[in-house]
């Protein structure tokens, strides 16, 4: 297919720019990987010797293990609660009229704008006053509030894309509202709910700033444990942990893209 020379140069330049930007995005991950496999504690590029010792050390480190466990507990509770609360409210927002709906929605979406350190500080102060200082409850409550906006948006978008006529058909065939919800609405919303939950879980697991304020030594999540480690030690154990993190996340997202269609969830698919 013959095309004008200027068009091809243009396209080529475009490809270069995009490749450069992707390179920028990927650079830290690549560099961290190089550091993680380095046989020695001192950084060098490329590494003089290759080794897996930092991976072993990272996996054996007690604080990391505790942080991982705590993270799973907090995340499991927080994202599940957030899913239930968020999905229910999104449903009500989409279909129902009730007082204060705008206000509640605004407040629930505010963590997108309110800094996490403010939210963390606030929860810390309340917890101290109520005597729940830095217990798991506080941490979970804080995380629920922080990930709720994402769940809300994700479920809301799915609801908007849902064809109401399926529900009307079910009702005309004799299904009560509860039955319609269980047998028609929920199954159709499932992809949106799953991706909402996934988002919430990943964000909660990785949440750092607010967690720094509301966790204590025994409840600290993995990001907080990692932060403390970086401040004290300089060896590449963190690099090894980061690599495991990156690989796990990228794999998860690739699957999510393949099965759930990340593009659709993030609303970046073509309108036509």
């Amino acid at each position: 297919m013959p095309r004008a020379l200027s068009q091809r140069l243009f396209a080529f330049a475009g490809v270069l720019v995009v490749a450069a930007i992707l390179g920028f995005l990927v650079l830290p991950a690549v560099v961290v990987a190089l550091a993680a496999f380095n046989g020695r504690a001192i950084l060098s590029f490329p590494p003089e010797t290759w080794s897996l010792r930092w991976f072993v050390k990272a996996l054996a480190y007690e604080d990391f293990q505790a942080g991982f466990r705590n993270g799973l507990i907090v995340t499991g509770w927080a994202s599940s609660i957030a899913l239930l609360v968020g999905a229910g409210f999104a449903f009500a927002l989409d279909r129902y009229r009730f007082p204060l709906r705008g206000a509640i929605e605004a407040v629930l979406l505010s963590p997108l704008v309110v800094p996490h350190f403010t939210v963390g500080l606030g929860f810390l102060i309340i917890a101290a006053q109520v005597g729940l200082a830095r217990s798991f409850t506080t941490v979970v409550a804080c995380h629920v509030v922080l990930v709720l906006p994402f769940v809300l948006r994700s479920v809301y978008v799915s609801l908007r894309n849902l064809d109401r006529r399926f529900e009307l058909a079910a009702a005309s065939l004799g299904a009560s509202p509860g039955k319609v919800l269980l047998t028609v609405t929920l199954p159709l919303l499932a992809p949106g709910l799953v991706s909402g939950w996934l988002f919430a879980a990943i964000l909660s697991f990785n949440e750092f700033t607010a967690s720094l304020f509301v966790t204590a030594q025994r409840t600290q999540t993995l990001p907080v444990a990692m932060y403390n480690y970086v401040r004290e030690y300089a060896d590449p154990s963190m690099a090894a942990l980061s690599v495991m993190y990156i690989v796990a996340t990228a794999t998860l997202l690739t699957f999510a893209n393949a099965y759930l269609g990340l593009g659709k969830v993030l609303n970046v698919e073509h309108a036509r």
Partner: protein, 291 residues
């Protein structure tokens, strides 16, 4: 806000069940923010976590040049980050939306979105390894003979902004891509038939129609960056301080929660002010977008 003709309760089944938990969470959040507000207005009792009597001393203390400086620095860093994220993110979002190759699309999408899910600490740590004196950039430049001594990239505003751009880019790309995806391709084709080459068609049609996405992206980028903590903390290392770092220092180093609270309140007010200004500035631009 009860509508004039309130629908019958049974026309909205499970209303209470769906709304109550959410209302509860909203109350929780309001309580947390109210706690911050309350503490900001009370005196600090050194050595104790409780607060004393009501006072405005925390806010007047903010007027000291030291703290004003931190606020200005924060705003400046946020703008730089938002600006560069936009500059770097737009081509990527455009490529993501316009390419017909499914593999390329997936690669761009996953690559752009993955950093978003890695968490602040992992991302910041990676940049420490890239920017440090023994880090990747310096090692490469020294080997290539382009420099004789390592460049000081850590503990500088430059380093912090670069890392923050990396953090904000995914969000920017997602918002821009969402806006671009909804621009009908026929507009560009029509511009083409009317004599506009690819560049002119982009500048006169696609770019204006993507302004709502640009505004949403910049607004979100600003808010996100303001909330950043680990990045300025670890890469700034005390030399570059944003409001978030100051709040942490005051809260956990000096246990001066009231002052930390007042900083938070001021920061929040600042954020809302800037976002409000952005919205106002954006109003005439928003009319350009597709209806």
């Amino acid at each position: 806000m009860i509508p004039a003709a309130a629908p019958r309760v049974d026309a909205q089944p499970f209303l209470r069940a769906f709304v109550s938990p959410a209302a509860l969470c909203a109350l929780g959040l309001i309580a947390a923010l109210a706690a911050v507000l309350q503490y900001s207005l009370r005196a600090h009792i050194p050595g104790s976590l409780d607060a004393g009597a009501f006072t405005l001393a925390n806010f007047t203390a903010l007027l000291k040049p030291l703290y004003a400086r931190v606020f200005l620095d924060t705003v400046w860093i946020c703008f730089l980050t938002a600006f560069f994220s936009l500059l770097v993110g737009y081509p990527l979002a455009y490529a993501l939306v316009r390419t017909s190759n499914v593999l390329v699309k997936s690669v761009i999408l996953v690559t752009s979105v993955t950093p978003l899910f890695l968490g602040e600490v992992v991302r910041t740590y990676s940049w420490i390894i890239v920017l440090g004196n023994n880090g990747f950039v310096n090692t490469m430049l020294l080997k290539a003979g382009l420099i004789e001594r390592p460049l000081q990239l850590m503990f500088t505003t430059f380093g912090v902004v670069v890392a923050l751009v990396h953090v904000t880019l995914p969000v920017m790309v997602i918002m821009l891509a969402a806006a671009l995806a909804h621009i009908d391709r026929d507009y560009e084709r029509a511009a083409g038939t009317l004599g506009a080459g690819p560049v002119r068609a982009f500048l006169t049609v696609t770019l204006p129609l993507s302004t709502p996405g640009i505004i949403a992206g910049v607004t979100t980028a600003f808010a996100w960056t303001f909330s950043a903590f680990a990045t300025p903390q670890l890469i700034g290392g005390g030399q570059v301080n944003m409001v978030s770092n100051l709040v942490y220092q005051l809260g956990f180093a000096s246990f001066n929660f009231p002052f930390a609270a007042s900083l938070s309140v001021a920061g929040l007010a600042l954020t809302f002010a800037v976002l409000g200004l952005l919205r106002l500035a954006a109003r005439p631009l928003e009319r350009m977008g597709p209806h």
